[in-house]
Structure formats: structure tokens, C-alpha cells
């Protein structure tokens, strides 16, 4: 899986129509000599198979090249920014699951009643909303109008100037330091971006949650539990929910890729100093190694997430054995 993803990235950046050098240098009217020099610099003029082997060997060695914009090794830059993206992703996932699951269960237990229909409409609408727009509207309402939450960034500028992070995860940092004022500030900054990202993801989870809950509620063991005289709530949360969770975990794993797409837009909207912003800045600065390195890193990250989901899956569903 990882190998295929890496090959895919290689194909896109080196083999597909279009020349990264040409596009990096502004697209047209670039003198041939400049392009040749650029290709030499990045080794793009070598035969493809040589490029491919070099590319794989470098990745295996953890050598992602040096960013020409920041002057640091690309991997260093990536690890600098990755915690911000990951923190955002984790919190959005939390909101997505919270909103998605509760609406899904509610819709399933009230199926074909007005609440169910309005939740279905909410789901369709949540598919249709551009995530960056939701973010901007949230900023308009909560930051500009009501002034209760910050517009963007991970910290207030003044705090950020004095703050030295240990782990890169600010929530973790402030808890480790026992600095509760800081924790509140960090959470305040996290709230809007992660809620935005989570809200847009929750529609799909809610839908899957509803479908899988409905299916489980139809099963014999649920009827048995009910006929034993157990309370409706006990049956739903003790008997049905656990089994309904199985497909939801799989979907959550798949959703993670979608979440990263959304993270790019959310980071741009909230000036969040994460990996997605690094990617865009690298493209704008025509920083080839940083661009390639970030995309390769996303590939590695996705494969890891998929692996973890598979492992969690076997815990939840003991029938699955690897």
C-alpha cells in the first residue's frame, strides 16, 4: 500500500504531463537554459528509472532533501508543523464522531419521524457546504461580530512570542506545564477550526451511523434483549451500539483522508500553522523538495492510519483475525 502510494506520488510529480520546473518558474516564457539548469539541480534530467530508484532510496533513508525556502531539511520542517495539523485533525475527528454518532443514533431510534427527516436534510446540506466557507462564516459570527473567540492562529501573538513548545501539541504542552490559563487559550483557538472541520465530516458519519444502527436494531438479539424486559435505553446503548460501531470505525478510518483534504482548507481559513499551509507555501515558493516531501509524508501518514484502523478493527470485532 505504502509502496503504491509512493509510486503514485512519483508518477504525478515526475512522469505526468507538465514539468514541475516549468510550472515552478512561472509557466511560460522561461528560457530553455533556465529550465535545463533547474532540471539538473533537482535531477529531473536523469532517466526515469534512475530517478525512481534514487527517490525510493532517499525516502527509505529519511532524506527528503533541503527546503530552499526555509533552509532546513524538509523532514525537520515537516515534523515542526505536523503536530499542529494532527492536533487539529484529532479534535475535529472528536467533534465529527460526537455530532455524527449522536445524530445518527437519534435518527435511527426515531426513524421516519420528523426528527429523522430533518437530520437527513442536515446530512445532505453538510455534504454541500464548502468547508472554507463554513470556517469563514464561523469567524464572522464568533470572532468579528461577537468577539468571543479568536479569528485564527494557535495562540495569541504575544503568547506565541514567548512560548516554547515541548511536544508541538499545544494542548499536551499546557497540561504538562500545568498552565491552565494557557490551556484555555489553546482550546479557544482550537474550537472554531476543529468544530468547522468536524461539522462538515459529521454528516457522513451520521448517515453511516443511522444505517448501521437501524440494521442492528432489526437483529434477533436486540429483540431478545427487549423481550427479556430490559429498558429501551439499556438495549440501545449496551447491546446495539457496540455492534453498530463496527462499520463506523472503518468509515472513520477512511474519513481520515477526507479530513486531511478539509484540513488544507481549514488551515488556510484559520491561518493555522500546520502542514497543509507548509505545502501551499512551498508550492508558491517553487520549493520542489518541500512539495515532494510533504506529499510523500501525507502518503506515509495515510498508510499508517489505515494500518492502525485495521488493528483497532480486530479489537472491536473479535471475529476478524489477521
Amino acid at each position: 500500500m505504502l509502496f503504491i502510494l509512493l509510486t503514485l506520488v512519483f508518477l504525478i510529480l515526475r512522469v505526468m504531463p507538465g514539468n514541475p520546473c516549468l510550472s515552478m518558474l512561472g509557466g511560460r516564457n522561461v528560457p530553455q537554459t533556465v529550465i535545463v539548469r533547474c532540471e539538473q539541480k533537482y535531477g529531473l534530467n536523469k532517466p526515469l528509472y534512475v530517478q525512481y530508484v534514487e527517490y525510493l532510496v532517499n525516502i527509505a533513508r529519511g532524506n527528503f532533501g533541503t527546503s530552499y525556502r526555509t533552509g532546513n531539511p524538509v523532514l525537520h520542517d515537516i515534523f515542526d508543523r505536523f503536530p499542529a495539523t494532527f492536533e487539529l485533525a484529532i479534535f475535529s475527528m472528536f467533534f465529527a464522531i460526537l455530532i455524527g454518532m449522536s445524530t445518527g443514533i437519534f435518527a435511527a431510534t426515531h426513524s421516519d419521524r420528523p426528527a429523522d427527516h430533518s437530520l437527513r436534510i442536515f446530512n445532505i446540506v453538510s455534504f454541500a457546504m464548502p468547508i472554507f466557507w463554513v470556517g469563514l462564516m464561523a469567524q464572522l459570527i464568533f470572532a468579528v461580530d461577537l468577539k468571543v473567540l479568536p479569528v485564527g492562529g494557535r495562540l495569541e501573538p504575544i503568547t506565541a512570542a514567548y512560548f516554547h513548545s515541548i511536544t508541538g501539541f499545544y494542548v499536551l504542552d499546557s497540561i504538562l506545564e500545568g498552565n491552565w490559563g494557557l490551556l484555555v487559550q489553546v482550546l479557544k483557538h482550537l474550537l472554531l477550526p476543529s468544530l468547522t472541520l468536524g461539522l462538515v465530516q459529521s454528516g457522513f458519519l451520521g448517515r453511516i451511523g443511522r444505517a448501521s444502527m437501524l440494521e442492528v436494531l432489526d437483529k434477533d438479539y436486540v429483540t431478545t434483549a427487549r423481550s427479556k424486559g430490559l429498558r429501551r435505553k439499556t438495549v440501545i446503548y449496551k447491546h446495539a451500539l457496540k455492534n453498530a460501531l463496527i462499520p463506523i470505525v472503518t468509515i472513520t478510518g477512511l474519513q481520515f483522508a477526507l479530513l486531511l483534504s478539509g484540513a488544507i482548507l481549514t488551515e488556510t481559513t484559520f491561518s493555522w500553522p500546520g502542514l497543509a499551509r507548509y505545502l501551499l507555501q512551498s508550492i508558491n515558493a517553487r520549493d520542489f523538495y518541500a512539495l515532494q516531501g510533504t506529499i510523500v509524508f501525507f502518503g506515509i501518514f495515510i498508510s499508517t492510519v489505515n494500518l492502525v484502523v485495521d488493528i483497532i478493527y480486530s479489537f472491536i470485532d473479535p471475529r476478524v483475525k489477521y
Binding site: 500500500m1 503504491i4 502510494l5 503514485l8 506520488v9 504525478i12 510529480l13 505526468m16 504531463p17 507538465g18 514539468n19 514541475p20 516549468l22 510550472s23 515552478m24 509557466g27 445532505i124 446540506v125 455534504f127 454541500a128 457546504m129 464548502p130 468547508i131 472554507f132 466557507w133 469563514l136 462564516m137 469567524q139 464572522l140 468579528v144 461580530d145 479569528v151 477512511l254 483522508a257 477526507l258 479530513l259 486531511l260 483534504s261 478539509g262 488544507i264 482548507l265 488556510t268 481559513t269 505545502l279 501551499l280 508550492i283 512539495l291 506529499i295 501525507f298 502518503g299 495515510i302 498508510s303 489505515n306
Partner: protein, 281 residues
């Protein structure tokens, strides 16, 4: 016979509120985009002498931007690029994904396994990041966006079509065709492909909605056409610059336009899937 069938279809359609509302919304947006030169009250591109950054008023129902251009007019024109890019990209993805899916599902064996692996890898990669990587090598613009978006969505069709083919090729009518001596190509084209169309159509409709969002995202990030061209995603990113000043109309209205169009396609998709398996709800 035919009229009876048609009546039945119409009756079915009558029950499909979602489908009808969706069709009306999409029709409305397409029509306003096509008729933009006749409907739009002002020029969408050139500087206007009216006030700059004025909030919505009778003269400018959706306000004006920093160059005094009428936001409403830009929105009416702005559907052009998303519709073209999303529509063409989705169709290219459909044709490519369907051909690969048909071959892969029917041929099985090593080809199928290899293609499935590649498609799964593509599918698991965040679509927007994949599209950005492609645009970074190809350069921004309409063709780049169409290519990138269609590439990203090929696996979506591949998975649906392949899944269907795997079921269909075990059916009796396929066996009958094979017994009659039909060639593999003929079986695929005449017997299997038509039976996958229904589900592909539902996917297409959801997919266009998704492609519109991707297009909006890409042009929001600056991978679309250069500035004066009206495009909803780009207009929102332009409005972001005036967010702190509280100029809400620059962001709100283009966003509503995107939601409306995606909602329309989403409803059509829902309607079609309800029609295909009425029990699914």
C-alpha cells in the same frame, strides 16, 4: 406499451420530491449562468464607478466589492467555471473509471488485482492534496483543474462499476450470451455495461456536487483562473481579506451559491438512489 411505461416512470418521478427539487435547483443555476449576459445587472469584471465595499442595498442587492463591482453580477457569471470544470471532469472520470472498472471486473486475475490496488491507493489519498500535487506540476488554470479533478475521481467510478461487474458476470443472462458465442467484448458492452448505468448515474450526480466543492476549494487556494475572472471560490478568498472589517456580504453570497448548486446535485443523487433501491431509506 411505451406510453404506459412512460406513465409509470412519471408516476415514480412524482414520488421523488428530492429528485424534482434537485432538478429545479440545478436547472435554475444552469439557466442563470447561461443567460448571465442578459440577466446580470452590471459588468462582473470591470471597475465600476459606484461605491466600493458597500453593503447590500436596492441598487446592489448583494453589495459591492473593493473595486466597486456588483457582487450579484459576479455570482451570476461565477457559476460558469465551476459548472464547466466539475461537469467535464466528472464525465472524464466516469468514462475512464467505467472502462477500467469493466475490464478489471470482467477479466479478473492479475490485472484486476493490480488495478484494484492502484485504485485503492488513489482512493485513500486525500483528493484535494492529490489535485494540488497535479496542479503544482501542470500549473494552475482550467485545464489543469479539469485534469486534476477527473484524475482524483476515477477510483470512485472504478469501485462502483467493478463491484457491479463482479456480480453481473455470474448472472444467467451473461452465461446465456456466452453460450450463444458472443465475444467477451460484446458481452461487456451490450450485456454488462448497460446494467451498471443506474448506479453510475447516482454516483455521477453526487460526484458532480463533490467536484464543485473541490473546484471551489482549488480556486479558493488560488489554483483557478487569474483574478478578474468571476469564480465563486476565488471570490470567497477575496472576501476573506475584508473579513476583519466585517464585510460579510463578500463571503456569504458566493458561498450560498456553491451550497445551492451542490445541494441540487446532491438531491438528484439521493433521488436516483432512492429510485434504484426504494428499500434503502
Amino acid at each position: 406499451m411505451l406510453s404506459k411505461w412512460l406513465l409509470g416512470q412519471l408516476h415514480l418521478l412524482g414520488k421523488q420530491h428530492l429528485l424534482i427539487v434537485g432538478l429545479i435547483i440545478v436547472g435554475f443555476v444552469v439557466l442563470t449562468t447561461v443567460l448571465a449576459p442578459f440577466i446580470a445587472p452590471y459588468d462582473p469584471v470591470n471597475y465600476q464607478n459606484g461605491g466600493r465595499l458597500t453593503p447590500p442595498s436596492l441598487k446592489h442587492p448583494m453589495g459591492t466589492d473593493q473595486l466597486g463591482r456588483d457582487v450579484l453580477s459576479r455570482i451570476i457569471y461565477g457559476g460558469n467555471i465551476p459548472l464547466k470544470v466539475a461537469g467535464i471532469a466528472a464525465l472524464i472520470a466516469l468514462v475512464t473509471g467505467m472502462i477500467i472498472g469493466l475490464l478489471s471486473g470482467y477479466r479478473a486475475g492479475i490485472l484486476d488485482r493490480a488495478l484494484s490496488l492502484v485504485m485503492d491507493a488513489m482512493y485513500s489519498f486525500p483528493g484535494l492534496i492529490l489535485a494540488i500535487a497535479i496542479l503544482a506540476t501542470m500549473g494552475a488554470g482550467i485545464f489543469g483543474m479539469i485534469f486534476a479533478i477527473s484524475f482524483v475521481y476515477i477510483p470512485t467510478y472504478f469501485r462502483v462499476v467493478r463491484g457491479q461487474v463482479l456480480q453481473l458476470r455470474e448472472q444467467e443472462f451473461v452465461e446465456a450470451a456466452r453460450a450463444e458465442g458472443a465475444s467477451g467484448f460484446r458481452i461487456l458492452l451490450r450485456h454488462i455495461a448497460p446494467n451498471t448505468i443506474n448506479s453510475v448515474m447516482a454516483v455521477l450526480s453526487f460526484n458532480i456536487a463533490d467536484a464543485i466543492l473541490t473546484e471551489a476549494g482549488l480556486s479558493f487556494l488560488g489554483f483557478g483562473l487569474p483574478p478578474p475572472a468571476p469564480d465563486w471560490g476565488f471570490d470567497i478568498s477575496n472576501g476573506q481579506r475584508f473579513l476583519l472589517a466585517g464585510d460579510w456580504w463578500l463571503i456569504t453570497f458566493p458561498g450560498i451559491a456553491i451550497i445551492l448548486l451542490c445541494l441540487g446535485f446532491g438531491m438528484i443523487g439521493e433521488g436516483i438512489s432512492d429510485m434504484i433501491n426504494p428499500r434503502r431509506r
